[in-house]
């Protein structure tokens, strides 16, 4: 029977595998649709459900098919539960249970509430192939769901699976749909089905090509390139649609590179901004700067651990709590370092370099001893997880927030230096220490606070970086060189230079990466920095006049 089908739409070895998957789902759907008309039989449904307890992927797959086809009211909850890992089975009694989203447990076959799961009940396992089967089954089941989100997901799932026999359902859903975006999704799903439907007319198919072309994203491209044999007219239209989508996507990929560059630039800026204070403003070469970032990241880890064990509900606020704490922890340690080491080394920047290098070794090993050498888990709060589509590019929330966060930190810092008394004192001390001292500014206090501020900002950077990188004792090491490059490239002593430097390097890196590859791209950036410094030995935004040289 399969062979008969395959002669229509599945020619060539390439698409054969896809076809098997499709036929499996198709088979299910046929069963499903045919059974909708037939009253459910009590016996086989229980038998099917019991198959979940066998802990065999093939049995599970069979069970999904049979249950989806059963038309039983419990089919949808069972399969949803399976998808979410809420379906458990007891291998001894062959009983299967659903843990509902509210935590209540019910028997899967009867829907009757159960006090607790049997001791040896285990969650029914899935693998990727099964997950796809489940998705397809649910897609068929939820096309007419009252929940708009589910309908949208179902439409998208159908767009991918383009099951021919779902066409009537999709069409009726399309007719009923009132939400515009979902209606669009149904139209696209319908077009996908028609494109793969062997007996659809050429004109229908051409319309479908136009709909898919209008969608214009990677998935549309995937669909159109995977069409297989089609009438010549359709093939031609599809080919032109593919090339138009491709050129459109190529344009978007420039936008995408620019966005990635901004995002990388924001990470670089965040890592470098504290250094721009300690190194750029104070002239202290702080090799332990990276370790301040690391301390910030570990502070986030500790905050999340406490929240996880004590107040799980607060998890989404963990970063908000961690930011001030990280600032305080790193800032405090910064002040401590300034008071015990750095203040004895003013005017000897290269010795500061050596001492802070030693310090970085000590801090790294201290963290390694305290927290262990392995990575620590820092989770993304829900508002920093996932992504959204902007045109044809994917923007991840964590990167977006980090960019905003970085700019906010930068703005606050700038405002602080400009408008607060401490900022004024800091600038005074940097520009003319003796004069500032004679005007009654406690220069040593200002030094300590400036260093503390730089370190604290590094700590804040650690909070953000914990969202995208390892939280391990080596975290700081991986940012220290880049940070110095950014500050030097931008021009020491100039916060705006650091900003422009970071974004320039970030964007340059991201435009080079697709051309040269990640490794060569990075090498090229380094060489460019070396050459650039020859041209402008004091960086992009060098301070001019005698003050710099004094």
């Amino acid at each position: 029977m399969l062979a008969a089908f395959s002669s229509h739409s599945c020619r060539g070895p390439d698409v054969f595998a896809n076809c098997i998957d499709r036929f499996r789902a198709l088979f299910l759907s046929i069963l499903l649709l045919s059974c909708l008309a037939v009253p459910a039989l009590a016996g086989p449904f229980e038998d099917s459900v019991a198959k979940f307890a066998n802990d065999e992927f093939s049995d599970t797959e069979a069970a999904v098919g049979e249950i989806a086809a059963s038309g039983n009211a419990l089919a949808s909850p069972i399969i949803s539960a399976l998808q979410d890992g809420r379906l458990s089975a007891d291998p001894d009694s062959k009983k299967v249970f659903i843990t509902q989203t509210d935590g209540k447990i019910v028997d899967a076959t009867t829907g009757a509430a159960v006090d607790k799961l049997p001791d040896n009940a285990a969650a029914v396992r899935l693998n990727n192939r099964l997950r796809r089967t489940v998705e397809a089954a649910l897609g068929g089941l939820t096309l007419l769901s009252p929940d708009p989100a589910k309908r949208l997901a179902a439409a998208q799932s159908v767009f991918k699976s383009h099951e021919e026999n779902l066409l009537p359902t999709v069409e009726s859903a399309l007719a009923k749909e009132s939400v515009k975006s979902i209606k669009q999704a149904f139209a696209e799903a319908r077009a996908a089905i028609i494109l793969f439907k062997s007996d659809a007319s050429d004109s229908d198919k051409l319309d479908a090509v136009a709909v898919v072309k209008a969608r214009g994203d990677q998935e549309a491209l995937a669909l159109l390139t995977g069409l297989g044999d089609q009438p010549a007219l359709v093939t031609k239209a599809a080919a032109s649609a593919v090339s138009s989508i491709q050129s459109n996507l190529a344009m978007w990929s420039m936008v995408q590179n620019a966005w990635y560059g901004l995002s990388l630039g924001s990470v670089l800026l965040l890592a470098a901004i504290g250094l721009a204070i300690t190194f750029g403003v104070m002239g202290v070469i702080n090799m332990a700067h990276g370790e301040m970032v690391m301390l910030g990241a570990y502070t986030t880890f500790v905050v999340q651990e406490v929240i996880r064990t004590r107040y799980p509900a607060l998890f989404d606020y963990s970063l908000l709590i961690a930011v001030p704490l990280a600032f305080l922890v790193a800032g405090f340690i910064g002040v401590l370092i300034e008071r015990t080491i750095i203040r004895f080394l003013y005017g000897r920047p290269l010795e500061t370099l050596l001492a802070t290098w030693g310090l970085s070794l000590v801090l790294q090993q201290a963290v390694r001893t305290a927290f262990g050498p392995t990575n620590r888990e820092v989770g993304n709060p829900s508002w920093m997880s996932g992504a959204f589509e902007l045109g044809q590019i994917t923007i991840t929330y964590n990167r977006l927030w980090i960019l905003c966060f970085t700019l906010a930190v930068f703005a606050i810092l700038l405002a602080m230096l400009r408008y607060t008394a401490l900022g004024l004192e800091m600038r005074a001390v940097t520009q003319n220490r003796r004069m500032a001292a004679s005007m009654g500014i406690a220069t040593s206090r200002v030094d300590a606070l400036t260093f503390g501020l730089g370190s604290g900002i590094a700590g804040i950077a650690g909070v953000a970086l914990s969202q995208i990188d390892n939280v391990s004792p080596n975290l700081g090491q991986s940012y220290i060189i880049d940070s110095f490059m950014v500050v030097v490239f931008g021009g020491v002593g100039n916060l705006w230079g650091t900003l422009v430097g970071a974004f320039t390097l970030g964007i340059a890196n991201k435009f080079l990466e697709p051309v040269a590859g990640a490794v060569l791209g990075k090498i090229a950036i380094l060489v460019l920095i070396i050459l650039f410094i020859q041209k402008r030995p004091r960086g992009l935004f060098a301070l001019k006049g005698r003050a710099v040289e004094a």
């Binding site: 005017g347 000897r348 050596l354 090993q365 030097v488 060569l520 920095i529 410094i533 004091r538 040289e549």
Partner: protein, 389 residues
Amino acid sequence: MTPHILTRSLDRAATAFVLLVAAVGVLIPLSNLLLPQGSMFQVPTYLVALWGKYVCYAILALSIDLIWGYCGILSLGHGAFFALGGYAMGMYLMRQIGSRGVYGNPILPDFMVFLNWDKLPWYWYGFDKFWFAALMVLLVPGLLAFCFGWLAFRSRVTGVYLSIITQAMTYALLLAFFRNDFGFGGNNGLTDFKDILGFNVQAEGTRAALFLLSCLALIIAFLICRAIVSSKLGKVLIAVRDAESRTRFLGYRVESYKLFVFTLSACMAGVAGALYVPQVGIINPSEFAPANSIEAVIWVAVGGRGTLIGAALGAVVVNYAKTFFTSGPLAPYWLFMLGALFILVTLLLPKGIVGTFNSWWEPRRSTGIAADEASAAREDGISAAKMAE
């Protein structure tokens, strides 16, 4: 009025140092080869290799001290020159393996066979000959330093800017050498050497000879440095270190002086690397890591910046400490010790071991011999302050 260049360079401390290194260079191999094993004075082979490594580090430290201590150029990328010298030697040693590699390919090193390279890349040509490799040991680091210095010194890149771009240089090389496509064995580097000039690198006799050679190279490097710092050139270098623009207004072409010592220093580092590789048996891109270069600067600081003996001594002391602390029950804590050592030395002994000793010893000496080491060291604070500019 002024004595000959050689007599001038060999003051009492320098003579004593040269004699000491010569004694070490002769006695350790002799005791290793001639005395029976287990004798109290017999130096086991692994210690010969270990001390050989220290001696190579001492040469590297000397080369850094020459430019940093005397000319104020802080290179945070000197490990790159060391590693390039090491790679040049490593390439020779790889070619010497010949068909004894695991694949038995007479021309291609194992890692090339392994990655299906069908012929030797052009830059590997010539490395089957020792003289060529020896030339490259000097030429490659020297040329890189020359080009880099020519660009940087002419554009008057100084102070921390220079330090950071030297770091960028070594970091870029690190990334490049990690790449397998680069043709230097990627992360695995060059290893499993068999012989050098026909002698088995593992043999005790070869090790002893390499050790002796390293000591000899240290003496020569030391004498070259002494000759330079005790000549008028040395005075110009210190002048550049302390007041660069003053020197320029006196009509000295500062960039030429910097370029000269920078290139010379890179060649010395290259030789150190070349001697290091056969003794430790491997060269890998991690030698380019910026951290290694910073550590080498720290040896100099610990020993005493601006004192040649101090630089060499610092390299040996820090590495001895590292060997000591990375074994046995102290192993988990050695980074604490190393870190603390750096902090304490910079805080409490800013002149380094030898510098501090000199300033303690000098007033107690009846004659005020103006050992430049002492005077140079005494001015460390000043010159460092100058570099802040």
